[in-house]
């Protein structure tokens, strides 16, 4: 089972305040076991807030989900076995008992988690506009993801690199981490 170590919401102008309010010492960051890596999930919610987003992957015994979503930027950092993980479904109405959902499988939002790294496959951008209208897209916001990690858990970055796992390598992320 995945260990959720951290869940942050970043709210526009409150960004710095929120960041500074967190101290890495207060977080219980589990050590990685053999063959494990960290999975950093980034989500940006525009418009209607989904009730939950389901995940699936090689290291999950059952389906995981991101819940209690809010507008704007938010992250989940999970320790998982190396393997492939993906955003699976987006539900937009708990009142309908979550019977209606958008299937993201065809869009292939897959993150390949490697052992001993923090793997990031890009942000899922959610724009649910109506009961049947939604736009989902995957965008590499690596600089934002790194900024988040620097504020929330910089000790993690002393031992592990943040790696963008998309098809094209991101030298900017490498450059940013070399400067540290």
């Amino acid at each position: 089972m995945a260990s959720h170590i951290l869940r942050h919401y970043l709210l526009g102008a409150m960004l710095l305040v929120s960041f500074s309010a967190f101290s890495e010492d207060k977080l219980e960051i589990p050590k990685l076991g053999e063959g494990e890596g960290y999975l950093l999930l980034g989500l940006y919610v525009h418009d209607i807030i989904p009730s939950k987003i389901m995940l699936k992957g090689d290291g999950f015994l059952s389906t995981e989900s991101m819940t209690d979503l809010i507008p704007g930027d938010q992250y989940d950092l999970i320790a998982v076995k190396a393997g492939e993980y993906t955003f699976d479904r987006v539900y937009n109405n708990a009142l309908l008992n979550d019977k209606i959902y958008w299937d993201l499988e065809a869009i292939d939002f897959t993150v390949k988690v490697e052992p001993g790294t923090i793997s990031y496959g890009g942000h899922l951008i959610s724009e649910v506009q109506a009961s049947r209208q939604a736009i989902f897209r995957l965008r590499n916001r690596g600089s934002q993801a790194l900024e988040y990690l620097e504020y929330c858990c910089s000790s993690l970055l002393e031992n592990y690199k943040l790696k963008y796992t998309g098809k094209v390598t991101d030298p900017y992320l490498t450059k940013l981490q070399e400067k540290k």
């Binding site: 525009h46 869009i107 998309g166 098809k167 390598t169």
Partner: protein
């Protein structure tokens, strides 16, 4: 009803009417909280047109148009005999997207709601003794929009109807009691057809040709009459233009706009059976034909249009068209008049005049009496400003390629050498600058700036070779083209060569950033709206979502990050930020789906890291284009302040009459 007299006046009394209107707006503003001059001016210039979408009914007795105000759009109806005007449909959410006169008594309108659902409405005009007695409105279909009014058929229209993701195409009788009985598999015209996004009906109202742009390709299909099968007639990379225009079932002839095996786009016959190009119907030396308007019966072309020096030119294909053009120009003694709409018998023409200083004036032209009267200006508020005048600039780029650009000089440029804002367009391919009215250009010109808009390599309208010359020339020859245009303006002595900034959106934003790095001697500041700052990042997002056909086009035009990443980094402002010596302004739509806001964050962070922090603005409700008036006000007043500070200019002053 009072407004009838204000809008529908002949030329002589128009000025009074407009002056009254402008005064009313100005008084209204006095009660609002005070704004900087540049913001107040932006609020006026970027305001939506007051009137748009004017159309004439088939009998030529009535004109309809959409009137916009701050809170609503209203579809209006004007009886030309009685001057009686009436609201047909009041639309609180700016939902009317398109409408047509189906016959002299009926309008069908497509509306789109905020949640993107669409509906079709029908408005029947009931007359008694020639006078309008009543308007009956009816919602006829949800989840549908109008694709063709089928003018050769009585009371029939063609619609795209969404029951699932892809649209079903139907034609149906508007007068039938039960519209839904005309829907369903039996009636579906694109049954067993590939997914298309453009549909061509023949002169009998039969769906004959479909086309689609997908995955970097253009595909077209023809429906064979015997078995009703859809046969692929075209499937090529989108680098070759192929736009089906009309299909004549009697001659089995398809007309297309294409540049297949030639440099410039022409109007050509295409044989759907042996898939070969035939006779060219119309071409113009050294210019692409950019669009074609069919006549009302769809059995011929009304005109083909192209641009010379950024000004639209129309070649009419009928005696009537030529007569109208000749008479309009003779009556007004000026060019830039176009047939906008006309009655079926050609007796009444709705004409539109537009140019670089005028977004549009609607005229009514009665061809039998050769009488012309003004209906209305589309944007009456503009009449109080002294707007800029355009001229064409030709320059030679570093490799000798000729570049055509448009320079707009402010009205006071005869007394003072103005500062210059260079605005490269987006794209960079298949987009162009023109000499038409442009709100951004005239906003800047009326604040005293000169504006230069280069058509660098890749721009639309200059042929296939010119477009292909832009391949992988980001930060290289494209910017050489722009610099050559700027240098030509400097050499002309028309502007202050020490006060030049560069500003653009999307690719234009990239160009502004990389030009600031390349030529700090020429450009004293750079401003980017939704600009690409990291080419590798842009391509990496394409590689996550696009199919191989699209990717091959992207690699060809932008470069391949898998094999040539280093070169992309050398041309990306984010990786060259340490070379920036001049001030930078960054703005980005938070919801931009084309160029993600990560480009903004990276550029902003790198400039700060290198000791040159940018002025910046996040546009929270905007996507890749600007939709909201308040955003335009916020952005352009901030831009004006940035230019003034960077170029050491005096406080903003609006040039008014």
């Amino acid at each position: 009803m009072n407004i009838v007299l204000q809008i529908f006046v002949v030329t002589g009394s128009l000025l009074f009417s407009l002056a009254s209107f402008a005064q009313a707006e100005s008084e209204d503003k006095k009660t609002a909280s005070p704004e900087p001059i540049s913001a107040k001016h932006a609020r006026e210039i970027f305001q939506k047109s007051k009137y748009s979408s004017a159309k004439i009914d088939p009998s030529g007795q009535r004109v309809s148009f959409i009137e916009h105000d701050k809170t609503k759009d209203t579809l209006m109806f004007l009886d030309l005999k009685s001057n009686n005007m009436q609201a047909v449909f009041v639309d609180d959410d700016n939902r009317i997207k398109n409408y047509v006169w189906v016959d002299e008594d009926t309008i069908v309108a497509s509306v789109r709601y905020l949640d993107f659902n669409r509906s079709l409405y029908k408005f029947d005009f009931v007359y008694e003794n020639g006078l309008l007695k009543n308007i009956e409105s009816k919602l006829i279909l949800n989840n549908a929009y109008l694709i063709d009014a089928l003018p050769s058929l009585t009371n029939k229209i063609a619609v795209a109807y969404y029951s699932e993701d892809e649209p079903d195409i139907y034609t149906f009788d508007l007068n039938a009691k039960n519209i839904s009985s005309q829907l369903g598999g039996r009636h579906k015209l694109n049954k067993n057809a590939p997914d298309g996004d453009d549909w061509i009906f023949d002169t009998h109202g039969n769906l004959k040709v479909m086309s689609a742009r997908k995955d970097g390709k253009i595909t077209a299909w023809y429906k064979e009459p015997e078995k009703g099968r859809w046969i692929e007639i075209w499937n090529e990379k989108q680098a070759t233009t192929f736009i089906p225009l009309s299909f004549n079932s009697d001659t089995e002839e398809l007309l297309v706009l294409s540049n297949h095996d030639r440099n410039f786009t022409e109007v050509i016959r295409y044989n759907v059976h042996d898939k070969t190009f035939g006779e060219t119907l119309f071409k113009i030396d050294n210019h692409d034909v950019e669009s074609v308007q069919l006549n009302q019966k769809r059995d011929g072309i009304l005109y083909a249009s192209y641009q010379v020096n950024g000004v639209e030119q129309r070649e009419y294909f009928s005696d009537l068209g030529s007569f109208i053009k000749q008479q309009l120009n003779k009556s007004i003694k000026a060019s830039g008049f176009w047939v906008h709409d006309k009655s079926l018998d050609n007796s009444v023409v709705l004409a539109l005049k537009r140019n670089s200083q005028q977004p549009g004036i609607y005229y009514l032209f009665e061809t039998n009496q050769t009488r012309l009267s003004v209906l209305t200006e589309t944007k009456p508020l503009l009449s109080k400003f002294r707007l800029g005048k355009n001229q064409t600039i030709k320059s030679k780029s570093s490799d000798g390629l000729e570049i055509e650009s448009y320079l707009t000089l402010p009205a006071d440029s005869d007394t003072v050498k103005p500062p210059l804002i260079v605005i490269p367009h987006g794209g960079p391919v298949n987009v162009r600058a023109s000499s038409n009215y442009n709100a951004t250009v005239q906003y800047l010109a009326s604040l005293g700036y000169a504006v230069l808009r280069p058509n660098f390599r890749g721009s639309l309208g200059f042929g296939k070779k010119f477009k292909e010359a832009a391949k992988q020339q980001w930060g290289k020859l494209i910017e050489d083209d722009i610099d050559s245009a700027t240098q030509a303006v400097i050499d002309s002595g028309l502007i202050d060569k020490h006060k030049i900034c560069i500003y653009g959106a999307s690719y234009g934003g990239y160009s502004a950033l990389i030009s600031g790095i390349r030529r700090p001697d020429m450009y004293k500041c750079s401003a980017s709206l939704n600009g690409v700052s990291d080419i590798n990042l842009m391509l990496s997002n394409h590689f996550e979502s696009d199919k191989e056909d699209t990717l091959s086009w992207i690699k060809e035009y932008y470069g391949n990050p898998e094999t040539n990443q280093q070169e992309l980094l050398l041309k990306s402002p984010v990786y060259q930020a340490d070379k920036f010596k001049t001030p930078v302004f960054l703005a980005h739509g938070l919801k931009d789906m084309v160029v993600d806001i990560e480009h903004f964050y990276r550029m902003k962070a790198e400039l700060k890291r290198n000791g040159n922090p940018a002025s910046s603005l996040i546009l929270s409700n905007e996507r890749h284009g600007l939709k909201y008036l308040n955003t335009n006000v916020e952005l352009y007043s901030a831009l004006d302040a940035f230019f003034r500070k960077s170029l050491d200019l005096p406080e903003a002053k609006v040039l008014v009459k």
